[in-house]
């Protein structure tokens, strides 16, 4: 039995990808989650993984080929069928007797088959809400948006019944109809395309999402003291960054505020099934990506830190994975030690909230009636007022603050 490995969709704005490298070769055994290939998208080179145990079969496209999402890229043999069992002479499948359904699925794992019958796919992280309605857009607008790496969802349509037309894409990218985007160099981030993608997404967000903004000062003294003491005992590669604590505190606090963790689907809220924190990561020279740190609420701090380092490293080197780009359920943006007091983020659609952390600094703080210098960070929340209210948002920020008072419980 062979299946087809198809060009994965890494986001609603991705329509095609270019194969840069086959990481695995025909005959290689692949475990679920193994990277099989690297593909080029407008967001850079991305490692794509398999979602089932399998044996790499015949490649169907070549390095350099650009194919639409859903196009077959390679055959995958079922992992349970050892390669040795395959006929050595390679009898074409079409000459074999037509297998009945039961035989045809014999190699498929039972759990997967049941899941398929139930209409679900294992490993598919998206929620169970109804599929988003296809965005109305002219063919020309679709093509240009694809070339410019912009999600149609991120563009306000001025055409009939809100359809996105060419002019909207040009407006979103700040280009004129006569300038054509040069195709991005392979294997590298196309910063221009990313700039346009950010512009488009943020423009749409500001147009469509009624943001509300909350700000809350949090005393980080306990957390930084705990961190300093802990890191002092550890070699550099085991040390934690404050950012890891902040992410964990946010992730843990979301359990009581599910309305902040999920997606807007045509005005309806769809709660996420897990907490996948989009970690806003700046790219030197400009640009920003917020890949997902999966199941951040479930990770122990050392693991979370390791994952975070890995993630940031791959942002910089252009090796993000498919699921990391498409999966964030909420974004955390931390300016670190070289920023400003506070930042108010813009929600990344279709998410409904973004948490911001300014630069921690010693500030005067009243404690037990005394003004004392404490290490203070200003946390902010920008959230979608269609799906949550300020009161709930305030409670959420307060909870994040409380979590950070007990760093050893994070």
């Amino acid at each position: 039995m062979s299946r087809l490995y198809r060009m994965p969709s890494l986001g609603s704005d991705m329509e095609a990808g270019t194969l840069i490298e086959w990481v695995r070769q025909p005959g290689d055994r692949l475990a679920k989650g193994d990277v099989i290939a690297v593909i080029e998208t407008q967001k850079g080179a991305i490692e794509v993984e398999v979602f089932h145990d399998a044996v790499m079969g015949r490649p169907l496209i070549q390095v350099g080929d650009k194919v639409p999402v859903g196009s077959p890229m390679a055959e995958l043999e079922d992992a349970s069928a050892a390669p040795a069992l395959r006929p050595a002479t390679g009898i074409p499948a079409t000459h074999a007797p037509e297998p009945g359904p039961a035989v045809a699925e014999a190699g498929t794992r039972t759990s997967e088959r049941i899941a398929d019958q139930a209409g679900h796919r294992i490993g598919h992280r998206a929620g169970t809400g109804t599929a988003a309605q296809r965005r109305r857009a002219s063919p020309a607008a679709r093509r240009l948006a694809d070339a410019r790496g912009i999600a149609l969802d991120a563009i306000e349509g001025s055409g009939p019944r809100g359809a996105v037309v060419l002019a909207d894409v040009h407006a979103a990218t700040g280009t004129t109809p006569t300038t054509e985007a040069a195709s991005p160099p392979r294997g590298h981030l196309d910063l221009a395309a990313m700039r346009q993608a950010i512009a488009a997404a943020m423009s749409r967000s500001k147009r469509e999402i009624p943001h509300y903004y909350l700000s809350h000062d949090i005393d980080l003294t306990a957390a930084t003291d705990w961190l300093t003491a802990r890191n002092a005992q550890l070699p550099p590669d085991q040390r934690l960054l404050l950012g890891a604590l902040l992410i964990k505190a946010v992730a843990l606090s979301l359990d009581k505020f599910p309305e902040l963790n999920g997606f807007d689907r045509d005005g309806h809220f769809e709660p996420a099934q897990g907490v996948h924190i989009g970690c806003a990561t700046a790219i030197r020279g400009g640009g920003l990506v917020a890949p997902a740190l999966h199941d951040a609420d479930q990770l122990q701090l050392p693991t979370l830190m390791t994952r975070l380092r890995d993630l940031v490293g791959r942002v910089r080197s252009g090796g993000l994975r498919a699921s990391e780009l498409s999966d964030p359920t909420i974004t955390v943006s931390s300016l670190g030690e070289r920023g400003v007091d506070r930042l108010y983020g813009i929600i990344y659609p279709p998410q409904v909230a973004i948490v911001g952390f300014g630069t921690p600094a010693l500030r005067p703080w009243v404690q037990d009636g005394q003004v004392v210098p404490r290490n203070i960070v200003t946390a902010t929340l920008s959230a979608d007022h269609r799906h949550s209210d300020g009161h709930r948002g305030a409670l959420f920020l307060a909870r994040v603050g409380q979590r950070l008072q007990e760093p050893d419980t994070l």
């Binding site: 070699p235 550099p236 960054l241 030197r284 380092r309 080197s317 670190g336 030690e337």
Partner: protein, 80 residues
């Protein structure tokens, strides 16, 4: 190991953790955080790499001393 050798290693490891700086000319006195946009993650990765390469432990409290390649070379020379 001379200061220049140490400085070369520091640069190599910096490029190792921030590959996107590979094409840059980084003067010895350049302020790495401000001029080359190194953040805390980069510093941590760099410190880890230097630790591995040179066996020098760099406590967190000393991170502020690693402001430039020259300063880092001086610091490491002290610690070796």
């Amino acid at each position: 190991m001379t200061r220049d050798e140490i400085k070369t290693i520091a640069l190599q490891e910096l490029i190792g953790v921030a590959a996107d700086l590979a094409g840059e000319t980084i003067p010895g006195d350049a302020q790495l955080r401000d001029e080359f946009d190194l953040d805390s993650m980069d510093i941590l990765n760099w410190v880890s790499a230097l630790h591995k390469r040179l066996g020098v432990d760099i406590p967190e409290l000393d991170y502020p001393r690693l402001v430039s390649l020259d300063a880092t070379a001086d610091y490491l020379l002290e610690r070796l």
